[in-house]
């Protein structure tokens, strides 16, 4: 057993987790600031300079809140559900290539955690697992409306997973591999968003529906009688749900960047490999800004309109796109 490799993995995993969790905290801050600026307000500016310590304040508050478990709720699953929601959000980031290889202390270290040959499939698999947390949260609250809200949220996620899966296909077909790092490398000549604008658009829309963000956030809205599947949650368990949502936002932006926007590629990246993560971070920031902008701008879809859009609009479009792409590739060779 190569101890150096083991240590490298452990360090990289820890570093990635820390970066993700800090990123989540500051994504909440980013959201509040950007929303505020769009709404002609200022946003948090009291906790720390420019309000930068606001996420810390929120975290401390949530830790000190009373942990309530409803009377006849299923205690084990009630407590586990937020954890089950959080884990896929974290592990989906394992296959994202943050850069190429760099040399640290005389050792070649690759700037990604796992170079899996079926990277894209791994992402699909983890996305499918993330449905469980929502369903179990709704069920374990012992509240009829939480259950219905949870089932609807998960039905929404499953429906949009179809179109999402089909939107994954064009970059795979163009690059000829399921390995995410090789897909990024294949975009050295031209980013795939130029070849596949429709698939990029479908990917964006379906991933926003997957993450339950506006305008697809009816399961969390007050019009759903209760606040949907996380009504009965308070304190740190509630924080875990939001952690999962924002971490998924970051992950989805990173995946979109890797598949369509050239991942860690950018000017002068081949000479200075450390620029790779910087470029990827910029693209992730762009994706996050887009999602926050959408939330500030649009009203939300009603549930039946949402499902109709997913099944009758995006899924056929994605399918058609795949067929046309395959045809063109077969013709061109």
């Amino acid at each position: 057993m190569d101890w150096a490799m083991l240590i490298e993995w452990v360090v990289k995993a820890l570093l990635l987790t820390v970066i993700l969790l800090t990123g989540f905290a500051y994504t909440t801050y980013l959201e509040r600031k950007v929303l505020a600026w769009i709404q002609v307000r200022i946003g948090p500016n009291r906790a720390g300079p420019w309000g930068l310590l606001q996420p810390a304040a929120d975290g401390i508050k949530l830790i000190f809140k009373e942990e309530l478990i409803p009377a006849y709720a299923d205690k084990i699953i009630f407590v586990l559900a937020p954890v089950i929601t959080m884990i896929p959000a974290l592990i989906i980031n394992a296959v994202i290539p943050w850069g190429r290889e760099v040399v640290i202390f005389g050792r070649k270290v690759a700037l990604y955690l796992a170079d899996v040959n079926v990277g894209v499939l791994y992402i699909m698999a983890v996305a499918s697992i993330s449905v469980y947390g929502v369903v179990l949260a709704g069920w374990s609250s012992n509240n009829k409306y939480s259950l219905l809200g949870g089932l609807r949220a998960s039905a929404q996620m499953i429906s949009y997973e179809l179109a999402l899966g089909l939107a994954f296909l064009p970059p795979i077909m163009l690059a000829g591999t399921l390995n995410l790092r090789e897909i990024v490398e294949a975009q050295r000549s031209m980013w795939y968003v130029v070849y596949q604008p429709i698939a990029a658009f479908i990917f964006l829309v379906t991933s926003i529906a997957e993450v339950n963000r506006a305008p697809f956030d009816l399961p969390e809205a007050e019009q759903e009688l209760t606040a949907g599947y996380h009504t009965e949650y308070s304190g740190m368990k509630f924080a875990l749900f939001f952690m999962a949502e924002y971490t998924k936002m970051i992950a989805v932006s990173a995946i979109f960047a890797s598949l369509y926007l050239g991942g860690y590629l950018g000017p002068f990246e081949s000479q200075f490999p450390w620029l790779g993560p910087v470029y990827l971070a910029l693209k992730i920031f762009l994706g996050l800004f887009l999602m926050i902008w959408l939330r500030a701008t649009f009203p939300r879809f009603r549930y039946d309109q949402l499902m109709a859009l997913g099944w009758k609009g995006l899924f056929p479009l994605a399918l058609l796109n795949v067929v046309v792409t395959a045809g063109v590739l077969a013709l061109v060779g």
Binding site: M1, D74, I77, V116, N117, V118, L121, Y122, M124, A125, V126, A127, S128, I129, V131, Y132, V135, L136, W139, L147, L151, S154, A155, I158, L178
Partner: protein, 177 residues
Amino acid sequence: MSLMVLFVLMGALALAAALGLLFARNAVYAALFLVLNMLALAVLYLTLGAPFLAMVQITVYAGAVMVLFLFVVMLLGAETLREEGGPIAWQRPLAAILGGVLVGTLSYILFVEATTGKILPPPEDYATPYALSVKLFQDYLLPFEVASVLLLVAMLGALVLVQIERKRRRNDDQTSD
């Protein structure tokens, strides 16, 4: 070596999950144990060098089929099972016989055939997407198409059932004025 350790661990986990599935009182717990079982199976596939199959197992089985199972169980509120009567009289002996057949066959294969070299190790890239697709779309095309027609029939059946329900509901709306 580490792969062997992982294999044994996952096997034990799969076994434990299966036992949990059998003995769980609550239908939702049973479904969740089944999900755990499938996840353990996926890791087993990984250790055997079939990553594609592992991911597909998680995506399709654990991620879609079991979610639908859970939907049905939760909507019907079947979490609390009641023991209705006892087992049917001839079930226990039949189960014992069939179980014995299974154990016998498996042990024969495991201890006799495997050691005499009748079972060959698989080729290096036997489970890559390329190899799988070649087999699926060239050698086994007909079963593939038959399976997809079966799925199509199931989808159409579901649609028809919904249409019947909708028509019945619309008639009720019109008559009860």
